[in-house]
Amino acid sequence: MSLSKTRLERVWPLLPGLAALLVTTLLLLAMGTSPVDAYSAMWQGAFGTSARVYSVLAFLVPLLLAASGLLLTFKAGLWNIGIEGQIIMGAVAASWVALRVQLPSGLQIPLELLAAMAGGALWAALAGVLKTRGGVHEIFGGLALNNLAILFTNYLIAGPWQPPEGGSFRGTQPFGAHALLPLFENSRLSLLSLALAIVAFAGVALVLTNSHWGLRLKALGQNARSAFLLGVSSNREMLLAMAVCGALAGLGGGVRVLSWFDSLRQSISGGIGYLALMVVLLAGFRLVLTPLVAFFFSAVLNGSITLQLRTQLHSALGDILTGVLVLLVLLFGNYERVRRAFRRRRSQADG
């Protein structure tokens, strides 16, 4: 009756995915929607036309930037939930340059992107200082800073940066063409930003696998005390990891305002930071998997937005699909561990 162990072990990695699909299928049935129609709408929404694929790639850019940064902070043992706010402050800083500064074209965009990185790094450093100096766990400091960043954006949009025709509360006036990233074939994709994201990911990969700093972060993440004994200044390394992560996230925020949108909007990030945390968790902090998972998340999210437009079903369905997947992989992904947990239980029951 039962599958042999090796066979079960072989299909094991697929089970969380199937179970997540089962959950969303049941939800769709409960809502009276045909799952086949819904999934095909999602597929069409992600890969149906070349424009859709460009959109998936455009959404991928900030997600991959943020996820790359998180690989560093997780390595140092930090839960940088504040990454959402770091994306937002990057967007704010880039918008400030785009609205207020006018430079020759070769300088304008580099300055905007640098400002974005500085904005994100600053916000991350704030969370870092709250942890190292203030003793506030980075989860709570980060969450508070996320909400403050959102409120600050809303204030700018409704106040000092409102469009001249009066605040619509939705966004600032569109930036001038000189301030925006060049787009690929009328899509929202900037090839430059995609290249930057790939370079950033490669840089992080290099740092983590081949540098002394990567080694020090690892020591810090695995055991703060032994890191201290090795002479690693934990506060400085933590702050540096936070700032670099924030800079990458901020760059992602800058890309959002300069290519995905053309202005600063109310939900400029819209949860990309939290999504990036889920990406890294699903990838199990593994370098190679991170961009693949980020691409998958981007496709699901774009697909579910199309689904919402076509069927009025809430696009949160995509988040449920990815969320259940991450949860199940976290819980049951490691076959050996699960087997041991249940064997232990059985032996306890026997004994």
Binding site: L27, W79, I81, L130, R133, G134, G135, V136, H137, I139, F140, G141, L143, A144, L145, N147, L148, L151, F152, N154, Y155, A158, G159, Y274, L277, M278, L281, L313, H314, A316, L317, D319, I320, G323, V324, V326, L327, L330, L331, F332, R337, V338, A341, R344, R345, Q348
Partner: protein, 324 residues
């Protein structure tokens, strides 16, 4: 502002704080036993929806609260199972559940948005309601507020004055020692994590059926994280936690009043208050600020101030358990 107005404001602060008080008690119980349930934000959202939907569909408030408690308990059970049996990181599981609860509530709640629904009726307690000042504040409320107040006392008494409470705390402080003395640490952690989760669920329904009646996407978003921060501020004590919840409610009420008086100040400044407060308060109780502050305080004040400012988390909070 005359005294009747002031009394009315205090009464409304207490009502507004009631769900937070309940959630803080639930999480305090869970963390005291050693399990961090970080899923609170998602768990509150989904249980608020479940409570509202169940009460609307069945016409029974009690079933609404039960459904909400079940949702909260299941979330806590997943955290407990993941960490106690599968030895996975509690923070990671809790975070993912917080996100998942948010998306589930957004998706499942789309047909329940802004519907009129049932709500907990006011219930003034005879005799007690006529006590001057205290009567109108404490006893002209509804069952949710009385439940929250009784829960604070009951949780404190249970944790610090009963043998079972001592075992609960030992599971969170020194699980190995407790285990060798015959305390079923893992079982206790399961029980109290799930109980705490059920209370969080009740807090969710307290929002959607009483304090913030109805459902809309993101109905209680943010409150779960604030409750988690208040547990830290409360030094893992239900009394101080409840005080924190009420102070939080009072600050919000004050911000609302001030906003009416100073309409020229941007609304955003008032909305920022809870989050600024969260940072300030956590810095204050972290010890880095409290220790030098206490050293300078007059000797007579030092003891009570220390009780108010300092607290260490349970020593084995979030730690896995080696019991075999």
């Amino acid at each position: 502002m005359d005294s009747t107005q002031l009394i009315a404001i205090f009464g409304s602060i207490l009502l507004q704080s009631a769900p937070l008080i309940i959630a803080v008690c639930g999480e305090t119980i869970s963390e005291r036993a050693g399990v961090i349930n970080l899923s609170l934000d998602g768990s509150l959202l989904l249980s608020a929806l479940a409570g509202f939907a169940a009460a609307l569909l069945t016409g029974s408030l009690l079933l609404g609260f039960l459904a909400a408690a079940a949702v909260g308990a299941v979330f806590a059970l997943i955290v407990a199972f993941g960490s106690l049996h599968l030895r996975q990181n509690q923070v990671a599981i809790g975070f993912v559940l917080a996100m998942l609860g948010d998306s589930l509530s957004a998706f499942l709640g789309q047909n329940y948005t802004r519907l009129p629904g049932p709500s907990v009726p006011a219930w003034h307690i005879p005799l007690l309601k006529d006590i001057p000042v205290l009567g109108p504040i404490l006893f002209r409320q509804d069952a949710v507020v009385y439940f929250a107040l009784l829960l604070v006392g009951a949780t404190w008494w249970f944790l610090f004055r009963t043998r079972a409470g001592l075992e609960l705390r030992s599971a969170g402080e020194r699980p190995e020692a407790a285990f060798t003395r015959g305390v079923a640490v893992r079982k206790l952690r399961y029980i109290y994590a799930v109980l705490g989760g059920a209370l969080v669920g009740i807090a969710g329904a307290a929002y959607s059926l009483d304090v913030k009646i109805g459902w809309a996407e993101g109905h209680t978003r943010g409150m779960g994280w604030i409750a988690l921060a208040i547990v830290i501020f409360g030094g893992w004590s239900p009394l101080r936690g409840a005080l924190g919840a009420v102070l939080f409610g009072a600050t919000k009420a004050l911000a609302t009043v001030l906003q009416r008086s100073f309409p020229q100040v941007a609304l955003v400044a008032f909305n920022a208050v809870p989050w600024l407060l969260m940072i300030l308060v956590l810095v204050l109780v972290s010890g880095r600020l409290a220790a030098p502050l206490l050293a300078r305080a007059p000797a007579a004040l030092r003891r009570p101030l220390r009780g108010l400012l300092q607290a260490a988390p349970p020593a084995a909070l979030g730690q896995p358990l080696d019991d075999n």
